[in-house]
C-alpha cells in the first residue's frame, strides 16, 4: 500500500515536471522572434501556394518546401525554416503570376495556321 502511494506520488511528480517542461519549451519557442518569423513566413508561403492553386497553377515543389520548413521549425532550426518558407512563398507568387498571365489562350508561333 505504501509502495503504491509512493509510486503514485512519483508518477504525478514526473507528469508535472514533464508538463511544465513542455509548456516552457513551447513558450520559449513562441517567444523566440526567429520562431515567430519562421511561422509567419510559413503562413505566408501557404497563402501564396493557395493563391497559385486558385488559378490552377500550383507547382509540386511549393508544398514540399513548406513541409520541409515546418519540419525545420519543429526541430528548432528557425533559420532553415525561414529560408525554405521564403523560397516556397516566392514560388507561390511566381506560379500565380504564371497562371494569371495566361488567363486567355495564346497560341504559340511555331504552330502555323
Amino acid at each position: 500500500m505504501r509502495t503504491k502511494r509512493l509510486l503514485s506520488v512519483l508518477l504525478l511528480a514526473v507528469t508535472f515536471v514533464a508538463g511544465t517542461g513542455v509548456t516552457l519549451a513551447a513558450d520559449a519557442k513562441a517567444e523566440n522572434p526567429k520562431a515567430v518569423k519562421a511561422q509567419m513566413e510559413i503562413d505566408k508561403a501557404d497563402k501564396a501556394r493557395k493563391k497559385a492553386a486558385s488559378v490552377e497553377s500550383e507547382w509540386t515543389t511549393t508544398g514540399k518546401l513548406i513541409k520541409k520548413a515546418q519540419a525545420a521549425l519543429k526541430k528548432g532550426d528557425y533559420d532553415t525554416a525561414t529560408r525554405l518558407a521564403k523560397q516556397a512563398g516566392e514560388q507561390g507568387e511566381i506560379a500565380y503570376e504564371q497562371g494569371a498571365s495566361q488567363k486567355e489562350l495564346r497560341m504559340p508561333s511555331y504552330l502555323k495556321y
Partner: protein
C-alpha cells in the same frame, strides 16, 4: 505583370534550382515558344494545323503510323517496341478484362446491359453528353454503369479499371477515331476550347505546356526519351508502361506529364483532364484505334 516578365521571373527561379542541362533546355524552349496573340480557330483548323506541322517535321512518316506514338519517328525505339509486341505485356490485362466484362454484377446485370454495342465501343468516346452537359469518357461511362447497378466506382488511374478498359480497347482495334463536337450545344465547343487552353497553357516550375514537348520539340529527346507527336496520343490506351511495371490509363499519363514539369496534377477524370482528352482525341480523328499498347 506582363507575360514576358513572368517568364523572366520563372527563368530566374530555374537558374537557382534547376540543373544546368535543364536550364539550357528551358531557354531553348522559351526562345522558340513565346506566346502570341490569341488565335481563334475551328477544331478542324486546329487538326489541320497539327497535321501539317508533323507532316513538315517528319515528311517520311505516313499518317497511319502516328497511332504508334514515338515509335513512328524513333527507329531504335521501334526495334525494341516491335520485339516487346511479340509477347505483349498487356495480354493478361485483356484476359482479365474479358472476365470482368462477362461477370454479372450483384444485381445479375452485366456491362452489356449498359453498353449494348460493347465491348468494342472505344471509338464512341470521348463524347459530348448533352443531358449531363459534360464530356463523357469511356472510364467515366464504365463507372456510371457500375454505380447505376449498385457497384462501387473503380479508381481511374490504375487497378481493376485498367484490365476492363484494355479488353474494351482490344475489341475496338481497327475502329477509327471520330470525335464529334455537336454544333447544337455551345457547351460542347466550350469544353473543346477548355481542353485546347489546357494543352497550350504553360505550367509547373519548368514552365512547359503540353505543346512545348509534343509540338514544338517533337522528335527531340528528354534524357533518353523521344518526345512523341500529339497526333495518335489517344489511340492506344490503356498502355503497359515498362516504367510503371503495369498498365495504366491515359489520365494516369496526364498526371505523370504534369508532375514531370513540376505542376500539380489535376484530378483524374476531373473536368480539366476530360476536356483535354476531348481536344486531344479530336486531333486524332481519322486515325485507327490500336489499344491496348506497350510503351517504355
Amino acid at each position: 505583370m506582363p507575360a514576358s516578365q513572368v517568364i523572366e521571373r520563372i527563368c530566374l527561379e530555374k537558374r537557382h534550382i534547376m540543373k544546368k542541362t535543364l536550364i539550357k533546355m528551358g531557354a531553348l524552349f522559351l526562345a522558340g515558344g513565346v506566346a502570341l496573340a490569341a488565335q481563334a480557330a475551328t477544331p478542324e483548323e486546329d487538326r489541320t494545323a497539327f497535321t501539317n506541322h508533323y507532316k513538315f517535321r517528319f515528311p517520311d512518316v505516313p499518317m497511319e503510323e502516328y497511332p504508334n506514338g514515338a515509335y513512328a519517328i524513333d527507329k531504335i525505339g521501334r526495334e525494341n517496341w516491335e520485339a516487346i509486341e511479340e509477347f505483349p505485356p498487356y495480354e493478361p490485362f485483356i484476359d482479365e478484362g474479358q472476365e470482368m466484362w462477362e461477370t454479372p454484377f450483384a444485381n445479375g446485370k452485366t456491362y452489356k446491359d449498359c453498353f449494348s454495342d460493347g465491348p468494342g465501343i472505344k471509338s464512341q468516346y470521348p463524347r459530348w453528353d448533352k443531358k449531363q452537359g459534360m464530356v463523357i469518357t469511356m472510364a467515366l461511362a464504365i463507372n456510371q454503369c457500375r454505380e447505376a447497378n449498385g457497384e462501387k466506382a473503380l479508381k481511374y488511374k490504375k487497378g481493376p479499371i485498367v484490365p476492363l478498359m484494355s479488353y474494351m480497347a482490344f475489341e475496338s482495334r481497327g475502329q477509327i477515331t471520330n470525335v464529334v463536337i455537336p454544333e447544337d450545344d455551345p457547351r460542347a465547343m466550350a469544353a473543346y476550347e477548355s481542353g485546347k487552353k489546357f494543352y497550350f497553357t504553360r505550367r509547373g516550375q519548368l514552365n512547359f505546356s503540353c505543346a512545348t514537348c509534343h509540338v514544338q520539340n517533337t522528335g527531340l529527346k528528354v534524357r533518353t526519351e523521344v518526345l512523341s507527336p500529339s497526333l495518335g496520343h489517344t489511340t492506344h490506351w490503356p498502355v503497359y508502361r515498362s516504367k510503371w511495371g503495369t498498365a495504366g490509363t491515359l489520365h494516369r499519363r496526364f498526371t505523370g506529364c504534369n508532375r514531370n514539369i513540376r505542376a500539380k496534377p489535376m484530378k483524374a477524370q476531373g473536368e480539366q483532364y476530360r476536356n483535354l482528352e476531348y481536344f486531344l482525341t479530336y486531333l486524332s480523328n481519322g486515325l485507327t484505334l490500336n489499344g491496348p499498347g506497350a510503351r517504355k
